[in-house]
Every structure is written in structure tokens, then in C-alpha cells.
Symmetry: C2
Subunit: 414 residues, 2 copies
Amino acid sequence: MTLLAKSAQGKGGPDAIFAYSDMANKRAAEIGRENITNATIGAFLDEKGKVLTLKAVEESMRGLDFSDSVTYAPLKGMPRFIEAVIDATFGDYRPQGYISAIASPGGTGAIHNAFYNYLNRGEVCITTDYCWGNYRTMLREMDCTLETFRTFKDEHFDVESCLAKAGEVAQKQQNVFMLLNTPAHNPTGFSVTDEEWDEVIKGLKAINQNGKNNVVLLVDIAYIDFAGKDARRFMQKFSDLPENFLTLFTFSLSKGYTLYGYRLGALVAVSSSAEVIAEFDKATAASSRATWSNCSKAAMMVMCDFADHAEKMAAFKAQQEALSQNLKQRAEIFVNEAKACGLVTLPYQSGFFLMVPTDTVEIAQEAARLLREEDIFLVPLGKGLRVALCAIVEEKITGLAERINEALKKAQAK
Amino acid sequence: MTLLAKSAQGKGGPDAIFAYSDMANKRAAEIGRENITNATIGAFLDEKGKVLTLKAVEESMRGLDFSDSVTYAPLKGMPRFIEAVIDATFGDYRPQGYISAIASPGGTGAIHNAFYNYLNRGEVCITTDYCWGNYRTMLREMDCTLETFRTFKDEHFDVESCLAKAGEVAQKQQNVFMLLNTPAHNPTGFSVTDEEWDEVIKGLKAINQNGKNNVVLLVDIAYIDFAGKDARRFMQKFSDLPENFLTLFTFSLSKGYTLYGYRLGALVAVSSSAEVIAEFDKATAASSRATWSNCSKAAMMVMCDFADHAEKMAAFKAQQEALSQNLKQRAEIFVNEAKACGLVTLPYQSGFFLMVPTDTVEIAQEAARLLREEDIFLVPLGKGLRVALCAIVEEKITGLAERINEALKKAQAK
């Protein structure tokens, strides 16, 4: 017997990442957190396994007028928050065109609104074959599917494979919907370079000038604040594109503002067409109203507080930069040691995660199992092991590449 | 030109309630908030137009470990939070059966998950003809529709009309999905009585024992903490119902915990079938993951804090009761004065709103216009005026019934 609607049947169930994270937590309870290496978690942690937070964010949050902070925010988000989101998204590289943004619960909510409003049922979104698994879950919820293209060719983003896939989808549906998680891609840490962006945009323009297709490009920038000072330079390339080329960005306060659990983000839109932006506003706000109503006022007020007080903004930026440098140090240890011992990783530039590729799914799982015997916890994701650099401090990273390398050799030999 | 998906076209646009609220705010900016009566807003306000908050909630929030409060909560919600939600939902009247709950962003998110998982596309949810307009918006977002039955017969809930509509829907779709916003219904303030619940449940059981239909009954209890001490007594009636009768409750921290803008609630399920509750858990958690991911950890921690500390819980309960009494006083003034001057209202027992019915939509709008000329702001909703008792203090309520009565007479005479 089931009472579920047809499309709700058969979905859900255990999540691989949570399952591996649970194993780590169980072991930590047995022998102490300090005696294991838990590189399964997608949050930036200190040596005690606590989330690293920004002092400026905490102080701003604690300074809010409580009565104000508990009221409903406007559906679209507080106007000052929306301005602040647009500033934070583009920095010095704001593209020419009409720009708008609508608040959402985290980056996930923003992606939901993008999928819902720009894909018909049964249609396809395309992204890299190494990708965040939840994109698939989200599309399934609206009877759409994820199709992937090869992420890398040699050491670089595979532009050819990306555009070939876009061309294939263009034959089947009007909106060619492409999602790119860059810079600091989850789970590999690669970033599309400015030159690669030029080629991608050129290829997509060719598609949407065929008189038939539109392009909807969704750039997931969840990790952008850990990708260095030039991370936003590519954004100016979305200036003056054709009217039927809509660029969307998912803005999130989870990582860059260390407000993961406050659930605030926004979907940001850029278009040469005022009409396309007006319909984006209307449809996206209606989705918000119809799905979660409004979003965290307290987190919005923190962003407004920074926007209104230069000294608070400066402190926040400095602390955010320090956090980003801390992650960079962790990554450098791992990357250098991997090179030294001959451990191959996928091209990593920045971000919370790094991937060690394997020849098969089975090797990845066996290597993860062997590492668990040494109290090292990583998540096997398809043909590879995901290392959450964000979750482990320098001391635990030192020597990790070599131990992964040994485990891989054993797993391959089996 | 449009880039929107087909089902996203034509939705959205201005909201009547926000539009009237904007008019009030504009006027307040001109002549001062203290010189207008703004009864348009669905939040409990003090004489300065600030949201009334509970001290125990504020203290708990301020006492949270910041680093803990910013982490991601589990998808389903923190286990202690889920227990606390179930306790808070049922109080002393927990029904027999399997019970579960999944966190959501406010009551809206809970309703979303209920609609999505228990209605096929094109199907119908039924509710009272006086109802919260957003139910319709939410159903439209998933290609479903709202159909209504007559709310009142004489001074009482129209059980006959309710069950006739349920029977009609049973002919067309397998899941008879009924939504009742009670106690302290928005926008009228009525509550289904225990005797009326007996009749409704009996009628729905007759439908789901026909070997063909299931019943999904969604009870929206957003305002229950303002409905008096017996408000939960009806909940025990959902004990030992047939396996294909699923009862859902939308729990919300917005009003009862004065955490409107923190966006936390839960969808609570009761069933005689372990299997039905297991599939509820799986499908609802998957929807959460696929739509907004996880929910406000900080607000969850406040509920856990109360659950873990009897003295904090006692303080919270006492403050919540005082707030409820304050609303009751406001309502008594209005109801007594309405009786004295002969102004007819729909049956009000408790809650944030009260409705003054009109013969036509036009009379409601004209009366609202005339009242605006006197700097009194109410929202005309269909054939009636909605008075937000929650938004205006005693001083502004005194005399209001008579002024509405005068405006109505003028509008009718036109």
C-alpha cells in the first residue's frame, strides 16, 4: 500500500555522503575525535571539529534588534539585501545588462527556482560528470533529468565535450539549460578559466542564434569566496549577450559568510532584455511564495549591516580572506605531498574539496574501506575519492596523500 | 518573448494583502504611524508597530553557541527538535498510532511537502471557501487546483457541505486531500468543534472504506497557540484510523514562538500504518533535500533548549499564554462593540484575524476605500473585510467596529 503521489514514489533513501559521515562520527564516539581523520564533511572546521565562523558575522548577528530580526522579510528579500547580494556576486566585474536577484533558502533554494521556472517537465539540464549529487535529486523532484558531459580533457575543462552536449540538447528542447559549478568546483576544486569561458559563451551564442533555441546558463558560485581575487573576472563576459541568453548565478551565504544553517542565498539574473528580467522577477518571486514563502530576515540584516557600515564590511572582508588563506594552506600541503609521492588528483585550483580519481567505482570503495581501517574517512564518489580539505586541519592533512596512495595501490592490486 | 517554462508563465504578480499593507505604510510615512489604524498585517504587533516577541525565545536565541547554530541541521531536523515538535503539536492529546515529523521552512514549507507528495498533477485539494489565498498559489505551482466548499451554515462549520465536496472529489481521484485551517482559522477565527470533528472523521472514514479512496487530511494549526487550552483536544480523535487515512499537521514556529522570519516549522504525520509513516519520512525528507536542503538550525536549537530545560520551558509557556490573553482582550473589545452596534461578523472564536462579511465583493472594496479616507486600513478579501486584530492595540480597536459599520452602510447604499 502507498498513499504517495505517483511522482513521489521510489524517491529518497540513504545519502552516500551522510552514510560515510555517520561512520566517521560513530568511530569518533568510540576512540575520540582527535584520533580519527574525518574528511567527509562539507563545512570549514577547526581542529576541534567545530565550524570556523567569522567574528564580524557573529558580532553583527548578536547586535541585531531581535524584534526586527524575527519579522517576515519581503518575498523577494529586503531591497538593501538584494543590492548587497548583487554587489557581492559581481564585485568589480558587474556585467552590462539588466540585473535582478530574488532571495532563497541557501544556494539549494536558488537552484530549485532556476530549475522550476526554466525547465519543462521531462527536460534535461546538463552539467559536468563530476558534480554535486543533489542536482540530480532536485531535478528528479520536478520530473526532469540531469545529463552530463566529460569534465576534463587532459588537465583542462573539456569545452568541446560541453558544447557538443549543449548542441545535442538543442535538438530536443527549446531551452538549453547548462549548469556549471565554478569557480572552486564541488567536488574537484577546478575552475573554468577566462579563456575557456570565452569558448563556452561563443559556442552557446552560436546555439541561441539559430532562431530556435534559448540558452539558460546557471553558474553555481557557492565556493567563490575561496577562489582568489580574480575569481569574478569572468562575470563581465555576460555583458550584452543576446536577449534569449539568460545568465543566472546562485549566491549563497553558507560558506562565504559561514552561515550554513541560517539558510540564505539568492538567485541572481543577468540579461540584455528588461522583459526577460521582469518575467524572472515575477516567476521566481511567485515560486518562493508558493514553496517557502520568505527567507531568513536575520541573515539578510547581517548583509545589510555590512553594506551600511564600511568598517564592518572591511573587518568581514579581512576575516573572510584569512579563512580563504587558511584553506589555501591546507590544500597546498596536500597537493605538494601528492606530487611528491606520485598520487594523481583531478585538477584542483581552490575550494572545499579535491578528488582522487580511480579506474573503477569498486577501487574507490575498496580504498575508502582500507582507509577506514586506519581511521581515515573519505567519501567514495563514483570513480574517485572525495577529500574534504575544509574539514581537516593541517596536522591531519600532513601525510594524508601518502596514506591514500598506499590504500589505492592495495585496492588496485586486489 | 519568454524564456520561462510553460507552467511558469502567467503566474505571480501583485498580492492584494501586500498592496493594502503598502497603502497603509505610505500613509503612515505621511502622517505618522500613530495617526493611522493599520489592521492589514498578519503579525502580532505592539503600539509602536513592532513585533511582540517572547523574552524566553530571545534569551535562548542569544544564548546559543554561535558556531553550533550556524552548522547545517540534519535534513529531517535535529532528532531532539523533532521530538519537541511532536510534543508541542499534540500536548496532552497525542493520538495513538505511528507519528513522525520532518522540518520545513515555516508552515508554508510543510504545506508544500504535503501537497507535493500526496497530490498527482491535475488533482484537487479541498478547503473552506474562506481561506488563506496562498494555498491556491502553492497548488498552482504544482499544476494542482484548490476547490472550496461553504465554510459556514448558520453560525457553524458546514460539515454537510464539507463532506459533500469530499464525496465529489472521491469520484475523480484516489487521494481525497482535505485541508482544514483550524483552530483559529485564517481569516475568520472560527474553530471546528469536537462534535463537528467527529462528524467529519466519520464521513471521511466512510469514504476511505469504499475500497477505492485514500484520505489525506492536512490540518493547518499555524494559530493553535492562540486558541485556548482545549485547542488540542480534537487531536486524540486521529487514533486508530484506517491505514489509508493519513492525518498531517503543519507545525509552525512563526506565531506561537514569535519567530516568523526565522522560517521554521514541520510537517507532522499520524497513521495506524508503520509503512505509511515510513514512506512519509522518506518522501518528505527527499522533497526537503530537493527543494531547500535543510532548515534553520538556530530556531531548532531554541526549541531543543526549551525541551531540555524545564524552567526555560515554563517561562516560555507563561509568556506565550500572556500573549494569547493579550490577543483575547483585543478580540473581546471588537466583538462586544460589534454586537452593540449591530455589525455582523463571521463566527470568531480566536486567532489573529476576524472577518466582516459583505453581500458583494464590490461592497467590501468600497467599504475598505471609505475606511482608508478615515486612515483605517483593512484588507477586502472577496466578500468581506479582514480585520487583523493581531496588528492593532486595544486603543485603536476601541471604536473600530462602529466605524466599519458606518462605512459598510455607506458602501451598501451606493
